[in-house]
Amino acid sequence: MKPELLWVYLSASPLLWLSLTLLAYALADRLSLAVGRSPLINPVLIAVGILSALLWITRTPYAVYFDGAQFVHFLLGPATVALAVPLHRNWPVVRRALLPVAAALVAGAATAVVSAVGIAWLFGAPYEVLAALAPKSVTAAIAMGVAREIGGEPSLTATLVISTGILGAIMVTPLMNAMGLTDYRARGFAAGIASHGIGTARAFQVDPVAGTFAGIAMGLNGLVTALLVPLLAGWLR
């Protein structure tokens, strides 16, 4: 088979981009391990960088890429369900922290929405952009639904959600260390509130208790933000 034909065949099958997604992540994860899980070497960011470069060089449309990568993407659902396992295992610790959980949830959810919308508003962003930005700290499925409901562009929301996730995962460790905060429940909970699943993934890298609290925070913030943002949107319009 001629090389061009081989490429035509391989690039049309899901196998190629599925394998390359796993390969890019394996390299990124190896790199992250080599630097002792330094927050600056975020495996999601590195893998996305490698794949974006590959897609750009080979001029592959995202839809073709996603045909292969969707099998990995699909696992987000079962992985979310699987968060019940560490929650169950650490339930005695969680149950004792119900009050701090409730207080930090309300404070964090409100801060995430109001500060983002407020800053962008000061920069003169139009309503449609503010509406897309407001739910940026919650998991993509909820954020896109909320944005659509209040007149924001869901695809812009998806971009803002992923960017927020990566930013939070990079910032959480240095910020918490600078504040001298050693309570892994609080550190994990903050990561889950500010940066949903990507923050939760980072928290699990650092500490299992932090990961558990991040998972709870992610789920609860989705709920609170879905209720809070439509209220705020009515007032903004």
């Binding site: 079962p78 701090p100 695809s155 960017s163 609080a186 990507i198």
Partner: protein, 126 residues
């Protein structure tokens, strides 16, 4: 192994059915997580001598998925590059809003958590 995958998928499926069926704003997998948690708690109550979840294949499959949680965001992440132009079009305002708001949210959430944990006197910090 097969049973563990079946448990996760059934919880997600039930979650989706509840979410769509009742028109709830909560995604199916989050409801699925609540269902599985309730199931695990119930199992521990009515069968206290049962082997812990870590001794079950479900524990191993969950640990595997959560250890590689970062990987699962890579396909969606690769999609944001196609929207890079949208982001750039809105200029510095969005970038500043994202960075500042994320940092502020992290700090406020962690501080409120620690303060309230201190007040309630149940400082279970390890």
């Amino acid at each position: 192994m097969l049973n563990a995958i079946l448990i996760l998928l059934s919880c997600q499926l039930a979650g989706e059915a509840i979410s769509r069926g009742l028109g709830l704003p909560i995604p199916g997998p989050v409801i699925g997580m609540a269902l599985l948690f309730a199931g695990l708690q119930l199992r521990a109550r009515i069968w206290p001598d049962a082997p812990g979840v870590d001794a079950m294949p479900l524990g191993a499959v969950a640990a595997f998925l959560l250890a590689n949680l970062s990987l699962l965001f890579v396909p969606a992440g690769a999609g944001i590059v196609s929207h890079a132009a949208t982001l750039a079009a809105h200029g510095a305002g969005l970038a500043v809003a994202l960075v500042a708001s994320t940092a502020l949210t992290l700090v406020v959430t962690a501080l409120v958590f620690v303060k309230v944990a201190g007040w309630t006197g149940k400082d279970g910090a390890p």
